[in-house]
Symmetry: C2
Subunit: 252 residues, 2 copies
C-alpha cells in the first residue's frame, strides 16, 4: 500500500518536506498562496539540502542557479571585496531567503556559511521566474522579499554610519529578539549562534568592544549573558538606546 503511494509521487520529496507542512511557510516564499499554487511551487523545489556547521552553502564566484530558503538553522553571509577585506553582511534564520545578491551577475557575490547544522530548500531561479507568469501573487511576494532585503541593508547603513557602539549592539539584540519572536520563540531568551567576532564584524566593531559592551549591559542589569545564552531583562531600555542618538542630534 505504501508502495502505491510512493508510485503516485515518483519525483517528489516526502510529504513532511512540502511547503504546505513547513512551519515557516507563512514567513517564507509561499506566503499567501492557495493549495494549488502551493503545489506548483513545491513542484520546482526538488531538493532539500543539509549544510553542516561551518560548511559553505555557496561561495563567492559560484555560478548562480538557486535561491535558498532556510528550513532549519542559521547562516551568515560574508562579503569580501577585491582586496580581501571581509565583513559579515547578515545573519539569516529559518524562513528567510538567501542568494539575492547573485542575480545581477549570475555569480554569488558573497559566501554563505552555516552557523550550525542546517537545512535549506533549493529554489531554481529560472523555474521560479517562469512560475511568476502564472502566479502573480508569488511574483509580488518575491519582489517584496527582495525589497525588504534592500531596506534591511539601508537600516544597517544607518547603524554603521550614525550609531555609537552601544547603540549598535542594542539594535542588534533587539533585531534578533524581534525575529525570534516572529518565529514563535521567546523574545527574551535565546542563544547567540554566532561568535563575538562575527557580531563585531557585522556591527563594524572589534571583538574586544563586543565583549566589553556585553559585560557593561550585564552590569547595568539590562540582560544576562552566559557565553552564548542571552536573557534580556529590559527590552524597552534596549529599544530606547537605539533611538537615543537621534534624540540627541535633534535637540541640538
Amino acid at each position: 500500500m505504501s508502495g502505491q503511494i510512493i508510485a503516485l509521487q515518483p519525483n517528489l520529496h516526502a510529504l513532511r518536506d512540502r511547503c504546505a507542512n513547513c512551519s515557516m511557510h507563512e514567513l517564507c516564499l509561499p506566503m499567501g498562496l492557495d493549495n494549488d499554487e502551493l503545489q506548483r511551487l513545491d513542484g520546482i523545489i526538488k531538493k532539500r539540502r543539509r549544510v553542516l556547521k561551518n560548511d559553505y552553502l555557496y561561495r563567492m564566484g559560484d555560478k548562480f542557479q538557486n535561491l535558498y530558503a532556510i528550513r532549519v538553522g542559521h547562516f551568515k553571509t560574508v562579503y569580501t571585496d577585491a582586496a580581501g577585506t571581509e565583513q559579515v553582511t547578515g545573519f539569516q534564520m529559518a524562513g528567510e531567503l538567501l542568494g539575492f545578491d547573485a542575480i545581477s551577475s549570475d555569480q554569488h557575490q558573497c559566501n554563505s556559511i552555516a552557523l550550525e547544522d542546517s537545512e535549506v530548500c533549493e529554489v531554481p531561479f529560472d523555474r521560479l521566474e517562469e512560475l511568476f507568469r502564472d502566479i502573480p501573487g508569488l511574483q509580488r511576494h518575491f519582489h517584496r522579499m527582495m525589497s525588504q532585503e534592500i531596506t534591511r541593508e539601508q537600516s544597517i547603513m544607518l547603524l554603521l554610519g550614525n550609531m555609537r557602539a552601544e547603540q549598535r549592539l542594542a539594535a542588534f539584540l533587539v533585531n534578533l529578539s524581534t525575529r525570534y519572536s516572529q518565529r514563535g520563540y521567546s523574545a527574551h531568551a535565546f542563544q547567540l549562534r554566532m561568535t563575538r567576532e562575527e557580531i563585531g564584524s557585522y556591527l563594524g566593531l572589534t571583538i574586544e568592544s563586543i565583549s566589553r559592551l556585553l559585560t557593561r549591559f550585564k552590569k547595568n542589569g539590562w540582560l544576562n549573558v552566559e557565553s552564548k545564552e542571552i536573557q534580556i531583562n529590559d527590552l524597552p531600555k534596549l529599544k530606547t538606546l537605539v533611538t537615543a542618538s537621534a534624540a540627541e542630534s535633534l535637540s541640538r
Copy 2:
C-alpha cells in the same frame, strides 16, 4: 502629414521622449529589449516628470505606485529612522532606477530629493509586473537591477564598517568617476552635485572631515578641487587607497 502621424499615436508622448531615443536606454530598464518590446514598455510609461532642485521626487510614507527612471539630473535618497536620525543612503544619476525600497511595504521608506533640476520617467509598478509575464527579458533585467542595488548596499556596508575616512572618500570618488565614465563623460573631471555635508552623511563622516580630506588629497597632488569642480590627477592612486586597508589586515 505630420497631423496623420500624431493621429496614429493618440496616447503617446512625443517621439523624443521614448525609450528607444533615450541616451540612457542601454543602462536603464529597457536594456536589451527588441523594438516591439521597447514599444510595449513605452506604452506603460505615460508621464515624464520634472523635479526642480531641492524638490522631493517622493517622501517617506508616500503610497508606492511608481518606480522612477532618471532621464536627466541627479538625486539623493535620505533615510530617516523612527527617531529622526537622517542619513543619505545613495546618490543616483541618469539611467538609474529609484524606488525599490517601497515595494515591500507599499510605502516609500525614504525621501528622494533632486540635487539639480531633473527629469524622470514614471514607471507604474503594477503595469510593469504585468509586462514581465510577456517579456521575460524585461523581468530578468529588472531582477538584475534590484539585485545590483543589494550588492551596491553591501559594498557600502563594507565601506562604513571597515574603512578609514581617507579610504571612504577615495572609494566615493572612484565610484563617481566610474559611473560618469559609463555614461560617456570624463572619468577625470566632473562636478560634485552634492554638498560636503551630504557626502559626509553618506560616508558616515562629518563635514569637517570631508573638507580636511579634500584639501589633503589636493596637497598630495591626487586631485584638484575648486568648490564643486573635481579634477582627478591620480586615479590609480585613489583606487590603491581603497584596497589598502585590506592589504594591511591581511598581512597581520
